[in-house]
Symmetry: C2
Subunit: 211 residues, 2 copies
């Protein structure tokens, strides 16, 4: 007899909960110390799930930590997306992404700790802001708003710069994060081809509220 | 009786060798997997030094891994320094640092693996290129070669961009690294205030040989 719909739903829900509990435990480890040496057994225990269920979701421990960084970066990107929804100009969107990061850094300190404690390669491979920024760079080039020869390198510069800014805030909390984000947004827009005056103007426009 | 000079020298040399063996073992771990969960006992064994001598050099395991990343980044920076010695123009030095990184990435694959497997916060806290780039940015601003309002943010952008570029090469070996480095150097010089034409010109000058 096939599983009833409600039984299947319950099974799927439990399965998703188990995965999420493992991801949450891995996020905690990264936020606390970044020491990924804990055994799978210890991680499963921390997540309060059976040891055996680990392999229903992940092939290895690095696989789990990749998923944990992905999860944190996706949460970070969504917190910014909410504000950018109404903006069509790719220049405003790029500046908005950098400037809103200052707010997310403040409202999501766990994500900032995860970033600082995660391997560079793991962060760069994760989704997060990169696919959003990619779309903005491509649209900006297509419409003539940006004038850069190499979109991949432009995107690499944007991602690396933002990552280094987030790290700066984490380790130098005395830095005025709104001012720093505005200054970086202005520099990056100029790099993308806006005149210095226009870069300054766009980087200082008031930010939209969350949609 | 005080230690004789030769005895003291031998003692200091042994001490330095022990520290270097521990740093080398930590570099190997970072290059292989980045899994910093090995016990201090296992690391000392790998370094072929006594467990007790660990604490003569390091206060903790994170302290050792910080030193290992520092050591790798210093080696990377010195490989570039050798070429930049004859350049006075801060714009040429910045472009040279980015472009020569393509060569170092090829000649020092272990350092690139260490970078990708190391925590973001650990890399950003390490010395390496940052103090060199800081001097170039400050000189460029002082001489009017660069026009940026905020040297700290300019430096953060340079460091983050280069880090993301090194990561890109590690994970996409098919990228033409000389072309990518040239494109990034050009974008960064424009960001620092050079006109598009001048940025392109400086980023394409022939690189000096090692001094």
């Amino acid at each position: 007899m096939p599983m009833s719909v409600s039984l299947r739903n319950r099974y799927e829900r439990r399965r998703a909960e188990t995965r999420q509990a493992l991801v949450r435990a891995a996020r905690q480890i990264l936020a606390e110390s970044g020491d990924t040496g804990a055994s799978i057994h210890a991680i499963a225990e921390r997540a309060d799930v059976g040891f055996g269920s680990f392999y229903n979701h992940f092939t290895s421990k690095p696989d789990l930590f990749d998923a944990a960084v992905d999860d944190a970066m996706e949460e970070y990107a969504r917190a910014i997306d909410k504000h950018l929804r109404g903006l069509d100009d790719p220049a405003e969107r790029v500046a908005g992404g950098v400037r809103l990061s200052a707010r997310v850094a403040e409202s999501h300190p766990e994500i900032m700790r995860i970033l600082c404690h995660s391997e560079l390669g793991r962060i760069c491979a994760s989704r997060g802001l990169a696919p959003r920024a990619k779309r903005d760079v491509e649209q900006g080039i297509a419409s003539g708003r940006f004038s850069v020869a190499d979109p991949v390198i432009a995107l690499t510069t944007l991602n690396g710069s933002l990552l280094a800014l987030l790290e700066l805030w984490s380790n130098k909390p005395e830095v005025d994060s709104d001012r720093a984000a505005g200054a970086m947004a202005e520099m990056l827009l100029h790099m993308l081809g806006l005149s210095p005056d226009e870069a300054r103007d766009v980087a200082r426009r008031s930010l939209p509220a969350a949609a």
